[in-house]
Structures are given as structure tokens and as C-alpha cells.
Amino acid sequence: MDWASLSKEKKQALLLIGMWVVGGVVALYYFVLAPYFASRSTSESELDSLRAKISQAESTMRGDARLRAEFALYTEEFRFAVTNYIVPMENPLSWVTEKVYANARQVGVDVQTVAEVGSSSGYWDGAIKSDRTVKPYSVRIVTECSYQQLIDLAEVLEKSNPALCITEISISPQDMMPTKHVLNMTVEYPMWGRKLKLNMLETNKAPEGV
């Protein structure tokens, strides 16, 4: 086919056909191929992402039973500690007084006073803001007792709460009663410094302070 020898009408017809073909190809690309490839790419990337998520979930859930058992154990311990060891934010003196009197009664000590001792250390405020959960709550216990009763009282207090700390003991004699000494004791309990955020306990009844 010699272009030069073609008649004018044939040349125009061929150009028209060429334009239709190019236009058709462009239209095919923009309206059919491009959306098709985009959709395919989105579906495939979503599929890849879902497969990765499913695989990660399955590998996480593989140790599910062991995790649940560990969680149940720790949660039980946590609930016990929260109920028995940690002073609540609301009405702390009442909570502590109840514990102290109950402990003292066990060893036959008649407690005269349980009073709150203010803490002058600003350390704990900073510590609570950074990473700690509990701060000290101190009470002064005043009573009259024998040296043996002091030993018993110290034992029963320390056994009742592993986080409790006896920070001061002052025992001095009374001239009129040689077997009854005046005892001043400062006991430090752990108290909630901030609310602890737990996801799984949110739906259940959360222990006080949590």
C-alpha cells in the first residue's frame, strides 16, 4: 500500500479510522481498564491486609487457653489485693481504722487512737504522675500494751497486708504500770494514687478504686 498513490478520499478514510482506533483505545483504558485494575488492586491489597490480620490473630489466639488461665489467676489475686490491701480513695481513715481494730482485737490489744498522719513528701505526687499506682497512707496508732503484745500486733498487722509497712514504733514505760507501755506506732498502707484502667473489668463490677 503506497500512501502517495492513494486517492484523497482513501487517505481521509484511513485517517478517520486511525482516529477512531486511538479514541477507542483511550476510552477503553480510561473507562474500562483503569477502574478494573484499580478495583482489582484495592481488593487484592485489602485481601492481603485481611490475611495478615487473620494470621496475626490466629497466632495470638494460639496460646489463648494459657493466657486465659494466667489472666484468671492474676485477676483473682488483683481483686483480692484491691479489696484487702489497698486503701480506697474515699473515706480512707474509716477503711484503715476498721482493719487496725480488727487486727488489734485478734491479739487482745485495746487501741486508743487511730489518726491520719499527713505526708510532707511531694515525691509520691510525681511518682503517681509518672508510673506508680499507689502511694502511702499513714496512720498513727496509740495504745497501751506489753512488749509481747507489741510483737503480736506487729505480726498480725504485717501478716494481714504484705504491702503494709510499720514505719515508726515508739514504746516507753509508764511508772505506775510496769507491764503496760505506751505504744505509738505509725503504719503505712498503700492507697490508690490514681484510677487504674482495666478493659476487662469495665463491664463487670469494678472493685473500689479501680
Binding site: 492474676y74 506508680r132 506487729a154
Partner: protein
């Protein structure tokens, strides 16, 4: 000599090859169309398969997601609970259990010595941790200043009276025994010292007594998180 004369018009000339131009054009277009059809069909099939797989993966994820999220929450809670337990263990490790020490003190006290006053006073000591200086070119981040490391220590004071001809010796021996005792020795920063020893006349005018005061200071005990040796206790 032979002469070849071409009497054909150029428009009338035909290609003399094995395959004609028209045939080549038809075959090219046909091949391109066939390839387009084959790849298009394959691509479409692949797309349909991916769509089916995607739908099935979505269904699986719909079931797995709540379980997975619940496990993640459980893990998060477990970490919080463990940290809390470690914090409580740290409190426990920082305290001194007084019962065995009070019993021991009564045991080591000589018969001619009467303890008049026992005073134990706990103090909180905070060791400030230095903040790392920002490197050159870095702006100092508004970081929360570390709270420091909290430690407890205790001052122990014993006031008492000693009777007898060699009361001074008895008191000095008592100070030594107190400092070297297996229960007390590991607690002390330095050996307890005799703070005062005075002669005091008894009220009835008989035997003089020695009034003494002994002071000791325990080592600093950190209140830091303690990991459980094996599992929860």
C-alpha cells in the same frame, strides 16, 4: 545482455513475498485481539477469585476480630495487673518485718539491763535521677521529670538502764552484741553506736545505775517494682 522491463503501473504492482500485506495485518490484529481476550479473561477470573477470597476473608475476620480484640484487651489488663503486683511486691521488699527483730532484741538484752524506751523511726529518701542533657542540635523535649528512686531507712534508738558493778562493760557488750547479731547486722548501714552513757543515782540511794542510749541506722531499702520469681504468688 538481457533487459528487464517493468511495464506495470506502481498502483497496480503486487508484493511478491510469501505472505501478503493484508494477511499480515489481519493476523496481527487477530493475534492482538486474541491475546487481549486471553489475558483479559485470565485477569477477570483472577479478579473474581480475589473477590470471592476477600468476601470469605471478611467473614473470617468478622468472627475473629472480637475474639482477637478481647485477647488484646486481656493481654493489656494482664500487663497492668502484673505491674501492679510488682509494685506491691516492691513495697513488701522495702519494709522490715519487726516481729523477729523485736523477739531477738528481747533475747539479746542482758539480765542486768532494762530497756526503757525503744524508738524506731522510718524515713523516706528520694534519690533524684539525673535528666540526660539533650544532644547538640536537639531541642529539649518537655519530658516529665523522673520522680526519682524512693528508699526507706530506719533510725533505731534504744534507751535503757544497766545495774551492777560492771554496768559499763555490760552496756558496751550489749552494743556489740546488738550490732553483730545475725538478724540485726545485715540491716545496719554501719554498726550501731553508743550515744550516751551516764551515771544516775537511784532514788533510794542504793546502787548507782548507768543510763545509756544506743543509736543505729539501717541501710536504704529501695521501693521499686519486684518481678515475681515464677508466676503469681
Amino acid at each position: 545482455m538481457s533487459i528487464r522491463v517493468n511495464l506495470l503501473n506502481p498502483s497496480e504492482a503486487r508484493r511478491q513475498g510469501v505472505v501478503g500485506v493484508k494477511f499480515m495485518i489481519h493476523v496481527s490484529i487477530g493475534t492482538a485481539a486474541a491475546l487481549f481476550m486471553i489475558f483479559g479473561t485470565l485477569g477477570y477470573m483472577r479478579y473474581q477469585t480475589a473477590k470471592r477470597d476477600l468476601a470469605s476473608a471478611r467473614n473470617i475476620w468478622e468472627v475473629r476480630e472480637p475474639m482477637y480484640n478481647s485477647i488484646l484487651k486481656m493481654k493489656e489488663d494482664l500487663a497492668t495487673e502484673k505491674k501492679f503486683q510488682q509494685e506491691l511486691r516492691g513495697w513488701q521488699a522495702s519494709r522490715i518485718e519487726w516481729k523477729p527483730l523485736l523477739i531477738e532484741l528481747r533475747k539479746i538484752c542482758p539480765p542486768t539491763v532494762q530497756l526503757r524506751r525503744l524508738s524506731i523511726r522510718g524515713e523516706l529518701f528520694v534519690k533524684i535521677q539525673p535528666v540526660a542533657a539533650p544532644a547538640d542540635g536537639e531541642t529539649a523535649a518537655p519530658a516529665v521529670r523522673p520522680a526519682g528512686q524512693a528508699m526507706r531507712w530506719y533510725g533505731i534508738t534504744l534507751d535503757g538502764k544497766a545495774w551492777g558493778a560492771q554496768a559499763e562493760d555490760v552496756v558496751v557488750r550489749f552494743v556489740r552484741t546488738f550490732g553483730n547479731n545475725t538478724l540485726f547486722k545485715p540491716l545496719f548501714e554501719t554498726s550501731p553506736r553508743l550515744n550516751s552513757l551516764q551515771r544516775e543515782m537511784s532514788q533510794d540511794g542504793s546502787e548507782p545505775v548507768r543510763v545509756f542510749s544506743i543509736e543505729g541506722q539501717t541501710k536504704k531499702r529501695e521501693i521499686k517494682e519486684q518481678k515475681a520469681p515464677q508466676g503469681p504468688q
